[in-house]
């Protein structure tokens, strides 16, 4: 009985949703291919292609690590996007530009402290808008100026929160009950305005900001990049913090209730406006810090970095199931890994496209997300 049922279901899947089957098959094949490559097995196929090949464990480990690093950025930024999506019911297209805001304000502060006295204040606060001393001269790195980095993180969070809350008051609050699409369009307007205010103030030049001296080092025989490690640690700490906040505090309970059912939350007397503000504060802070950390890892800054990240962050949130912060984190890691590990098979021209494609497929075939049904939070 049980077996026939399982068989029936299998048959149904094959017939009804062949794409799911194909996806699974493809996934298994790719995993086998990686194993074969790691084992150095190569089976020649037609047309000069082959299955397997050779890839050192270090190469592969490097790709995975890169994937985890960008994945954490996607996930950390995704938490805020996911929360505003579920609590305010709209897809916030300006979320990426909140990352940009955090990156510039945070790095302005970090450079000011790290490079105090080395250059004009204005030039430092504007994150080397007009060049000036080189990043290595300023020495903004976790080794040379750990305090500057810490302050940078804090300023990124605070400044982004202020901007976010101000935007909410001016733009979103008057249209709270207008439905998802008008809010989405307004958020596109916010994205444009914010991005180009940043460009107007900080300039459009792409430039380096972090010092690289001593950042790459070996810890216990393993080569690490201390900036990546910082990102890793800070992101994990913040994620755990979010978890505790949502599970252990009254605010967290209220937020989860609102994400689940807004009307019910209203009836039960949850002060929705305060919860909304708290959502923006948390989402903004995390976005700002993500932007700051992203630049820390990447070393360069530009006014449209956040916008370029937006689709990846959306992908992470959608993959994880909108409204779930754990989903956003997991989705971020998956998208990050897809983005990096797919380089095994495809050229760097297409790895972003691959990540977007995965997002689209998930939206189409499992719009509730890959990790939904675990817990909403």
């Amino acid at each position: 009985m049980g077996l026939t049922k399982a068989l029936d279901r299998g048959r149904e899947t094959v017939r009804g949703r062949p794409l799911i089957l194909i996806t699974w098959l493809a996934g298994v094949l790719l995993a086998l291919d990686i194993l074969a490559r790691l084992a150095g097995v190569e089976i020649a196929l037609a047309a000069g292609r082959s299955f397997g090949g050779s890839m050192s464990a270090a190469q592969f480990g490097n790709l995975v690590w890169n994937g985890v690093i960008v994945g954490l950025i996607f996930g950390l930024a995704g938490i805020g996007l996911s929360m505003t999506y579920s609590i305010l019911n709209f897809a916030n297209f300006s979320h990426g530009d909140l990352l940009t805001t955090g990156a510039f304000t945070g790095w302005g502060a970090a450079l000011l402290i790290a490079g105090w006295g080395l250059a004009e204040t204005g030039s430092l606060v504007l994150v080397r808008a007009a060049g000036g001393p080189s990043p290595n001269e300023i020495g903004a790195s976790v080794i040379q100026a750990p305090i500057a980095i810490v302050i940078g993180v804090v300023v990124a969070a605070v400044a982004t929160v202020l901007v976010t809350v101000a935007i909410d008051r001016a733009v979103y609050r008057p249209m709270r009950d207008r439905g998802g699409i008008p809010l989405l369009i307004a958020s596109i307007g916010v994205a444009l305005a914010l991005r180009y205010v940043v460009q107007f103030v900080f300039g459009s030049r792409s430039r380096g900001v972090t010092a690289t001296e001593g950042v790459r080092t070996t810890v216990a025989g393993v080569g690490v990049n201390l900036h990546e490690l910082t990102l890793f640690v800070v992101a994990l700490v913040l994620m755990v913090g979010m978890h505790l906040l949502l599970q252990r505090t009254k605010l967290g309970t209220a937020m989860r209730a609102m994400a689940d059912n807004k009307d019910l939350a209203l009836v039960t007397g949850i002060p929705t406006e305060r919860v909304v503000t708290a959502t923006w504060v948390l989402g903004g802070a995390l976005a700002g810090v993500s932007g700051f950390l992203y630049v820390l890892e990447r070393g360069t800054i530009e006014f449209n970095i956040g916008w370029f990240l937006l689709l990846f962050i959306f992908a992470a949130v959608i993959l994880g199931g909108i409204g779930s912060i754990y989903g956003a984190i997991a989705g971020g890691l998956v998208i990050g890994l897809v983005h990096e590990v797919s380089l095994v098979w495809i050229s760097g021209d297409f790895n972003a496209a691959a990540a977007f494609l995965i997002m689209i497929l998930v939206l189409l075939y499992r719009p509730e997300g890959l990790f939904s049904g675990v817990t909403t939070a």
Binding site: A130, L184, F200, F356, I360
Partner: protein, 503 residues
């Protein structure tokens, strides 16, 4: 300027709605003014924020003057923008009327019209998706890219040095581009149209980025066999066939005409570009005609119903999936066409022309004009191009020249620093120097303000009736339509009082 452009009686009187779709829409085909009453009451009921502000009064005055005639509104808008830009050029040239000034005016106005017309095609297509059917497609740039690249691959010359195409005739390339865009639309539509609007937005944006990244990839850039080359050109772009109108001036009457005009001092490029401009305008008219017909039909009625409440349409037996797929494909084909007319006309294209910002431009045009209105899409395109796209740049240039502010500070710090000494000049100079950034800020702010305060667009709430005949015409036996309407209104107000009072 176009005071007396009221709906002309000839087309209306015949009652042949088939022949004259625009007569059916808008002013209901009767000059008694009863339609204005209808619109007024509809507005009141919807609670559109329509205070008696100064802007509202101006708008009402304009509406009254132009009598709600769409063509008049479009021409008046265009005229106003022309005036503004003529003024810009005149100011820039210190009001010296020379041949070069006139050439500058002509060339500015031509450029404006070209952009406005290109955006109009795209805005009309997007309006079909979003305004009519409620399909929130923000992948316009991607469908444009598919159109342009397909056209290029089909019609560029097939030798590896000057082109990467198949060398087919241009019409085949254009139709091929539209078909390709429609097919990509179909592939996206089949699964995506059952998604919620915001998901559709993300999917289409993702798709448009995938398309752009694919075009940008070096991997598809070229396959060369002997002298035969084929490929997208990757990041370095693709050569496209020349505009067909350019050939008009090579020999024969065209060349003679060109010679005469240049002899009169007209710049050559103005004449050649103007010829192509007329082609684009003709396409705008054609697309408008097509979409007006689509809108004013039972098909368009189902589209509107899908936008308003899809479940109702399904509960009345309409297979909404088919309608959505058809309309998505049609709109995508027109986006491909818009791309070809615009980006396809420079003889060269690269993937940077299809960044998502282009989609948002088109969106702004539609929103300014009011989504759901074809005429609004055209007006919105003109206003967008004039006031948001080209205007700030021109204006900034003029102010910069006129005020002699000296060199702009290199950074924002240099600009705000002197403010402590109450010297705003450096900030002004910096602002003018970086006016393109401010222009985007303005764009964002305008988008927010419109969606917050005037979600129906600057023209206010417009109705374009979705029917192939004038629905207001009553089948009163024997009685004249107007008489029957009046009596019906009387009867209605009596019997309707119960209904009105029930809330």
């Amino acid at each position: 300027m176009t005071h007396r452009l009221r709906p002309d009686g000839g087309a209306r009187g015949s009652g042949d709605a088939d022949r004259e779709p625009s007569g059916v829409r808008g002013s209901g085909g009767d000059a008694s003014g009863s339609d204005d009453d209808d619109r007024g009451s509809g507005d009141g009921g919807r609670g559109t924020p329509r205070g008696k502000s100064a802007a509202g009064a101006v708008r009402d005055a304009v509406e009254r003057t132009l009598g709600g005639n769409d063509l008049a509104v479009v021409l008046a808008t265009l005229g106003a923008i022309y005036l503004l830009f003529t003024l810009f050029v005149l100011v820039a040239n210190d009001f010296e009327i020379t041949t070069s000034t006139i050439n500058a005016i002509a060339s500015t106005l031509r450029l404006l019209t070209f952009f406005a017309a290109s955006y109009a095609v795209l805005a009309l297509a997007l309006n079909l998706h979003w305004g009519y059917t409620g399909l929130f497609n923000i992948g316009v740039a991607g469908f444009m890219a598919v159109g342009v690249y397909t056209m290029g691959l089909l019609s560029s010359p097939p030798d590896a040095t000057s082109g990467m195409g198949l060398g087919l005739p241009l019409p085949i390339g254009i139709i091929g581009g539209m078909v390709a865009a429609a097919l990509v639309g179909l592939i996206a539509a089949l699964p995506a149209l059952r998604l919620e609007a915001d998901y559709l937005a993300i999917v289409t944006l993702g798709l448009s980025e995938i398309i752009r990244l694919t075009m940008n990839s070096g991997q598809l850039s070229s396959w060369t066999v002997e002298t035969f080359g084929f490929g997208t050109g990757g990041g370095s772009g693709l050569n496209l066939p020349a505009r067909p109108t350019d050939a008009l001036f090579e020999g024969g009457a065209g060349e003679a005409l060109l010679a005469t005009l240049t002899g009169m001092g007209v710049r050559r490029s103005i004449v050649v570009d103007a010829a192509y401009l007329f082609v684009v305008i003709a396409f705008v008219v054609g697309v408008y005609w097509l979409l007006s017909r689509v809108g004013a039909s039972p098909f368009g009625r189902v589209l509107k119903a899908i936008r308003d409440d899809e479940l109702v349409a399904r509960s009345l037996g309409k297979d909404t999936r088919l309608f959505k797929i058809k309309v998505f494909m049609l709109g995508c084909a027109l986006m491909g066409l818009g791309g070809i007319l615009w980006q396809g006309s420079y003889g060269y294209v690269n993937p940077n022309s299809f960044r998502p910002i282009v989609t948002f431009y088109v969106f702004v045009a539609v929103i300014i004009g009011g989504s759901g209105s074809n005429a609004g899409s055209i007006v919105g395109s003109i206003l967008f191009v004039g006031l948001l796209f080209e205007g700030p740049r021109q204006f900034g240039g003029i102010v910069q020249n006129a005020m002699e502010l000296g060199d702009a500070p290199a950074t924002f710090a240099g600009a705000v620093g002197p403010l402590t000494g109450l010297d705003p000049t450096p900030l002004l100079a910096y602002g003018l120097e970086n006016i393109s950034a401010l222009q985007f800020v303005l764009l964002g702010v305008v988008l927010i303000v419109i969606i917050q305060r005037r979600p129906d667009g600057v023209l206010g709430h417009r109705t374009e009736t979705a029917a192939a005949v004038d629905l207001g015409e009553r089948p009163a036996a024997g009685a004249a339509p107007d008489a029957s309407r009046d009596s019906a209104t009387d009867a209605g107000s009596a019997s309707g009082s119960g209904g009105d009072a029930d809330e």
